[in-house]
């Protein structure tokens, strides 16, 4: 089967680029002397997970318990659920452990920690640390860290296994130098928290950090045990815009058909709109605003000048350009590939990847695990 045989819109994953991105990040982790625990929130695919785990220690990160159940069913047991644990989800987490999951959960709140401790499950708990992102986590130097650690350690069955942080503010950086600085903040905060636990005689085997920008540009991860980047596997226009990859490193695209010509408006209409591309506008504030996605040749996967999806309706994408559009080269029914602003959001609209290997032959269909 060839790309031209697929019904549109369809999600395309280029295994050649994926493999290159995965190898580069595995090499980074190895050079930095830390374990790589890839975050599967972007890919949500066991086929991608197997590639990402090659040569690494075998642990993964997940963003939902639904992902955890899916990966466990597919033979991956060592996983960290890197979203603050809700008390209402403890039974589901315990059920996964009964089925063989080596599941780590995280907390940053004393009420949640008491619920974890009081549940009776043998949970492995990481304390979430805020190293500047401001989303979740306690301060490395604040009193909450030790309070939480003592609640967990006093539990009859749950155990403290370390600290975890995500320097999401690295997404605000625009160059390697500032990403390296955030990576050092992330490392220093996590290690400081671990040192405080050790100084009090509390256990802290794991010191877990990570985001794609900080993993890519960290200079030293002394004291860290593992990193958890995710989007590096596919990359996207936002990552290219902030400089963690090039446009040629984006492995994910949406195959779409031209369904309209508005020559008087210098606009083309695609059958990939808000649902097929997502409404993510994360490139809006970057130097190069890609609208809702950059339009590429369906054969080469390379951008066609500055053609971008400038606006979207539910099932329509309006392509515009500063120059006259190449209507003759893109007749009704022609196919293009649209690079996504944000791979995690775009991929979530599809139940599977159509996999290519650098060309246009579709070599596999890899299912995704969506929802909750």
């Amino acid at each position: 089967m060839d790309l031209s045989d697929l019904s549109t819109p369809a999600l395309i994953l280029d295994r050649r680029i994926l493999a290159r991105n995965i190898e580069a990040m595995s090499a980074r982790a190895q050079a930095l002397g830390v374990g790589l625990r890839p975050h599967l929130k972007t890919a949500k695919s066991v086929d991608v997970a197997r590639l990402a785990l090659a040569g690494n220690f075998g642990g993964i990160t997940v963003s939902t318990l639904h992902e955890a159940a899916y990966f466990l069913e597919n033979g991956i047991a060592d996983m960290t659920y890197a979203v603050a644990m809700a008390p209402g989800k403890l039974d589901a987490a315990a059920a996964l452990m009964d089925k063989g999951a080596d599941l780590k959960i995280i907390t940053d709140n004393p009420d949640a920690a008491r619920a974890i401790a009081g549940h009776g499950g043998a949970f492995h708990v990481l304390i979430e640390i805020d190293t500047g992102d401001g989303r979740g986590g306690v301060q490395p130097q604040g009193p909450e860290l030790l309070d939480l650690a003592r609640i967990i350690e006093a539990a009859p069955a749950a155990s403290l296994c370390g600290v975890l942080t995500h320097a999401g503010h690295s997404y605000g950086c625009r160059d390697a130098e500032s990403m390296a600085a955030v990576a050092e903040e992330e490392r220093a905060g996590a290690v400081a928290a671990a040192d405080r636990l050790h100084a009090e005689g509390l256990p802290c085997a794991e010191v877990s950090v990570g985001s794609t920008p900080t993993a890519r540009f960290a200079r030293d991860l002394t004291g860290v045990t593992e990193t958890r980047p995710g989007v590096y596997m596919f990359s996207d226009l936002f990552q290219a815009g902030i400089g963690t990859c090039g446009i040629d490193d984006i492995a994910l695209s949406v195959l779409s058909s031209v369904i309209g010509h508005r020559t008087a408006d210098n606009a083309l209409v695609l059958d990939a709109g808000a649902l097929a591309l997502s409404k993510d506008r994360s490139t809006e504030k970057l130097a190069h605003d890609c609208g809702f996605g950059l339009v590429c040749d369906s054969g080469t996967g390379r951008p066609m000048g500055d053609l971008k999806v400038a606006s979207v309706h539910q099932e329509h994408g309006m392509v515009r350009s500063a120059a006259p559009l190449p209507f003759a080269a893109l007749p009704i029914g022609a196919k293009v590939r649209v690079l996504p602003n944000h791979a995690c959001m775009t991929a979530a609209a599809y139940d599977a990847y159509h996999v290519i290997d650098g060309g246009t032959e579709v070599i596999a269909r890899w299912p995704r695990c969506n929802g909750w």
Copy 2:
């Protein structure tokens, strides 16, 4: 089962509000003397479709051929696929007709029309008219209308059955008066196109118009045969913001758990983020910017002051307010319901609705038909 038993995030549909919205729109169409062909692109559910069709003629509108196949399998045959037909989808459309679908397709392009005519399938074709939206369609008074009609009429098997328009620019209106004016543009343009076809002796049995704002506020639809609104069933914060409904008319919400307290930042963290709510920001330019959704009491479904999801990460929603947040009333594990900016986008992240009937008891689970 009660709302409190559901794992979060979960999509909640209030059947009581849904039924009221559906009855009101059916009464509108009846009062205007036109058929109601509800657009199922928002609901993508046969359970919702059955309610929406009660008392109406039985036809529906769909936005994908995947929806068409799903509704056909569930016993609904009369349907209009209201996105410009791609030549590559003609075989799939013909296969649906072979299975019993009374499928209408649309075109606004001579190459597409020639592909439809040349395919050999007995397609029922509507010509798409642009009545001001600028997305798809030919001008009511331009030469393309008659060219397209003649291409279809000369086909060995396909037949021309009318004109169709969608005045999507009604979404730019902010009051009933301007929506009524756009409704008249929509009506006048479609009827003018139909009159031109009739004057040339060409068939035009259907004159199809519609959007929720124009259906809600049209004063007269003389010459129109049917209207195709969709989002009126669920409504959302954008529709409330432009005045087609009130906040109390929003039937859809996302049940979510509090998973973090950031008291120093006056922020609460929910387990409903970018995937659970979508990244739609359509209320951004309205008088009341609702962020990524308005936070409501999980029992009553009513807004909790001005609490809104101010920012999102993939699985985290950050709730903020101008006033001090009610942390004590929303402890870790507490549940809230978040009203969506755009129902079509938010619902698309879920494979089913958990249905309530004004209270908190979950009375049914209604599956959705996502993807392409």
